[in-house]
């Protein structure tokens, strides 16, 4: 007995060691899987001192890789980094993070880099496009590391958290040099924290309705002038195109909360309002609930998109002929007709209008999207990044946004938004635009998918009063916590 006890103890130790090793191996596996996903690698491999503790025990930020939000295979992944321009690289390399597939068209980035290379012919610019899905997590990891990108695009609802944390350098002294009073007010607010400017306005976008002119004509439908008419038109299209599988009169996947909020705002509801220093959730107010009931009716009767889907792949559905009309950002027509995975043939059939309100002749409030550009505190090339930033807020660059149907960040370029139908509709829509609660803690609400989950539940037929009250509690918890 006595002789076997030490051996047993050793066996116990060895087993414990094996178990620990097993855990370690598993973590390695997880990290390994994220390597193939292109630009995700920086976020996964950086392991910055600040964030590595949680990552150490849990599957790390690397698992973020898939951003597999889509319901259509293959899932979108970040494209590989692109070297742009003629920079030799002798004077250094700067990394530019832009979000989304086509929010800033390739041609515009090439223009910006060419302008930048006129001043800095020896500096190479690498473009790393990031999926919107999971962007906050990726930016947190990347910006806190020593290998931070040099110029980064932030969604206007998400910028505040980074500004409050000191993740971006203060641009207040150089604000006049960048654009000063010419910047759009709402974007300036998104880029300002505690009176200091940290992120320069980049572009804005209001949501509009995109429709199929040919299908409207075939069904004998006019462009709707009220929300009720719009839903009726959607139902009519459903009926007339019943032979097309998955056809939606109004393509309205429930998790597209940016679009659904229009119904809530138009009925007088809101997400949350500030009373004193406390945020109070308004999703279960009678006005909001009327809006959600309106959404539920449209979802059930005019839509075939799923309750658990979002708008990540809406242009593919549009190209597949499964969409009569859909709410989308102003740059969406450009994505629909892009030659890589879009359908250029569809161009003649794309029409646009501003989403109407309940009264004829009015428009529904739309979510004012947009982006700001900031330079991370941990960037090693802040001066070079500033010069690139300056190009990207210049009128020569911003004018192209207007021409692409995006609202530019400069008021002086707004006149050029007269270029296309989409731009005009968008400018009309933008006159009546709304925003999420301006709090640096709002990013936490988005990260927890509170609104998306609530909408999925409503679309599935759960009790509206109950799920909205739940969402209110979650939002108050985060914003006041």
């Amino acid at each position: 007995m006595n002789r076997t006890r030490p051996v047993r103890f050793l066996a116990l130790l060895a087993t414990a060691g094996l178990l620990v090793a097993a855990c370690g191996d598993d973590d390695d596996d997880t990290a390994g899987t994220d390597a193939p996903s292109g630009t995700e690698a920086p976020a996964g491999t950086e392991a910055p001192a600040g964030t590595d503790a949680p990552a150490g025990t849990e599957a790390p930020a690397g698992t973020e890789a898939p951003a597999a939000e889509t319901t259509v295979p293959p899932p979108p992944t970040n494209p590989p980094p692109q070297e742009l321009g003629t920079g030799t690289g002798e004077g250094g390399t700067i990394r530019l993070w832009l979000n989304g597939e086509a929010d800033t068209p390739d041609a515009m980035v090439e223009y910006a880099v060419a302008e930048f290379n006129k001043v800095h012919p020896d500096v190479k610019v690498v473009l790393e496009r990031q999926q919107w899905t999971g962007i906050v997590e990726r930016q947190t990891t990347a910006l806190s590391g020593s290998d931070a990108p040099d110029l980064v695009e932030f969604g206007n609802t998400q910028a505040q958290a980074f500004e409050a944390a000191g993740a971006l350098i203060d641009l207040t002294d150089r604000a006049a040099d960048l654009g000063g009073d010419d910047f759009l007010q709402s974007l300036l607010e998104a880029g300002t924290y505690d009176g200091e400017l940290y992120a320069a306005p980049y572009y804005a976008g209001a949501r509009i309705m995109i429709y199929r002119k040919d299908l409207f004509e075939a069904s004998g439908i006019e462009v709707p002038t009220t929300l009720e008419e719009m839903v009726a038109a959607g139902q009519q299209l459903m009926e007339d195109n019943a032979d097309v599988a998955n056809f939606s009169g109004i393509y309205l996947p429930a998790r597209n909360w940016h679009a659904v909020m229009s119904f809530i705002w138009e009925h007088g509801g809101d997400i949350a309002t500030q009373e004193g220093d406390q945020w109070v959730g308004q999703l279960d107010s009678p006005e909001s609930i009327a809006g959600f009931e309106f959404f539920k009716n449209a979802f059930d009767t005019a839509n075939a998109a799923p309750a658990d889907g979002d708008d990540a792949t809406d242009w593919l559905a549009f190209c597949a002929g499964e969409v009569g009309m859909m709410p989308a950002p102003g740059w969406k027509p450009g994505q629909i007709i892009n030659p890589d995975d879009g359908c250029p043939d569809m161009e003649a059939n794309i029409g646009v209008f501003a989403m109407p309100g309940l009264e004829a002749g009015s428009t529904a409030p739309v979510f004012l999207g947009g982006s700001n550009l900031g330079i991370p505190t941990n960037s090693e090339n802040q001066d070079l990044a500033y010069d690139l930033l300056k190009v990207m807020v210049s009128s020569g660059f911003q004018k192209q946004f207007a021409e692409n149907g995006t609202i530019p960040a400069l008021k002086s370029e707004l006149a050029n938004v007269a270029g296309s139908d989409a731009a005009v509709a968008q400018a009309t829509a933008a006159e009546n635009s709304r925003f999420v609660p301006t709090s640096e803690k709002w990013a936490g609400v988005e990260a927890a998918n509170v609104l998306q989950d609530m909408l999925t539940q409503i679309a599935q037929g759960d009790d509206i009063a109950e799920v909205t009250a739940q969402a209110d509690a979650a939002i108050e918890d985060t914003l006041n916590g």
Binding site: G24, A55, E137, A165, A167, T377, T456
Partner: protein, 310 residues
């Protein structure tokens, strides 16, 4: 073991010098040093960091350089007083229990099948298992996600229920998650158990058969006791793996699962830390997870040691 052996040789040969004895007893430690250093750097440092962070106020501002004040056990108090944390904890334990049970039962059954099969079929089954095992969790989950996709999934197409979501309902969400986790867990259990089965002397089984024992009796009295230690270790490992499950849940949540209804502890800690930038609270959750894992493991190891003594 090495220490015991050298000590034994020392006793057997009295005329060795003291110096030599000291050197030979130091050698094993020198040999094990690199492994300890690597483990210390890879696991020890993050663990210490996690521990300190759970006792501090640590949010996004601290990540970018602000000093982190000490707050004692306030973070732990915050999560233990949060009823949602307990919901997630129980959900995780139930998910873990169901998955481990299914993985073990199916894994052992497949091991028995492997032993019973002929050469060619055994090769075929082994190859299938290897492929399932070799697939990275992320890839596997995305493939399964597509199979169960709401609009374009093979399963919905076969059942003619297009448009019905598997993700939006808590129960069906965890059903699919369980399928994926169990599917990925079975190969390791099956192979290891099969290896253990091949170590049972065939004459014992033959003798049992001669004495008139059927399959059930043979399994209960000969096969099961022989592989029991292995099964205990496998169960302990499975508990650890399934308790910390992350990738499958996280990816399926993105496919359309209701985040609040489907969070397990691992994903929960990640969302608090990386999503809400509350690294302090996230660290506290992770520490609690670690303690639970350690408790479960110790319980199993003790059970195993007792088993040996009998």
């Amino acid at each position: 073991m090495a220490v015991a052996t050298t000590a034994a040789t020392g006793v057997g040969n009295p005329p060795v010098t003291a110096a030599r004895r000291r050197r030979s007893s130091a050698l094993p430690y020198v040999l094990v040093l690199p492994a300890i250093i690597v483990l210390g750097a890879m696991l020890g440092y993050p663990l210490v960091r996690l521990g300190t962070m759970s006792l501090q106020e640590y949010g996004l501002p601290q990540v970018f350089g602000k000093p982190a004040p000490w707050v004692g056990f306030a973070n732990f108090r915050a999560i233990l007083e949060d009823s949602y944390f307990w919901t997630v904890l129980w959900r995780t334990l139930i998910f873990c229990f169901v998955n481990v049970a299914l993985t073990m039962v199916l894994g052992v059954l497949i091991a028995l099948l492997l032993e019973a099969l002929g050469k060619r079929m055994r090769l075929f089954v082994s190859a299938s298992l290897i492929i399932a095992w070799a697939m990275p969790a992320l890839t596997a989950t995305i493939v399964w996600q597509w199979l169960f996709d709401t609009e374009y999934g093979l399963v919905n197409w076969a059942l003619d229920r297009q448009g019905e979501s598997w993700w939006a309902d808590q129960l069906t969400f965890f059903m699919v998650a369980t399928i994926i986790v169990v599917w990925m867990g079975i190969p390791f259990i099956a192979f290891t158990t099969y290896a253990a089965l091949t170590q049972i002397p065939t004459d014992m089984i033959e003798a049992a058969k001669l004495d008139g024992a059927g399959f059930r009796q043979t399994f209960r009295h000969i096969v099961f006791p022989a592989v029991k230690p292995i099964l205990l270790i496998l169960t302990a490992l499975s508990v650890i793996w399934d308790f910390r499950v992350f990738t499958q849940i996280y990816v399926l949540q993105r496919a359309g699962g209701i985040t609040r209804d489907t969070n397990l502890l691992g994903v929960f800690a990640y969302r608090i830390s990386i999503g809400e930038n509350r690294f302090d609270i996230g660290a506290a959750v992770a520490i609690v997870m670690l303690l639970i894992t350690a408790l479960l493991t110790v319980a199993y190891l003790r059970a195993m040691l007792k088993q040996e003594e009998v």
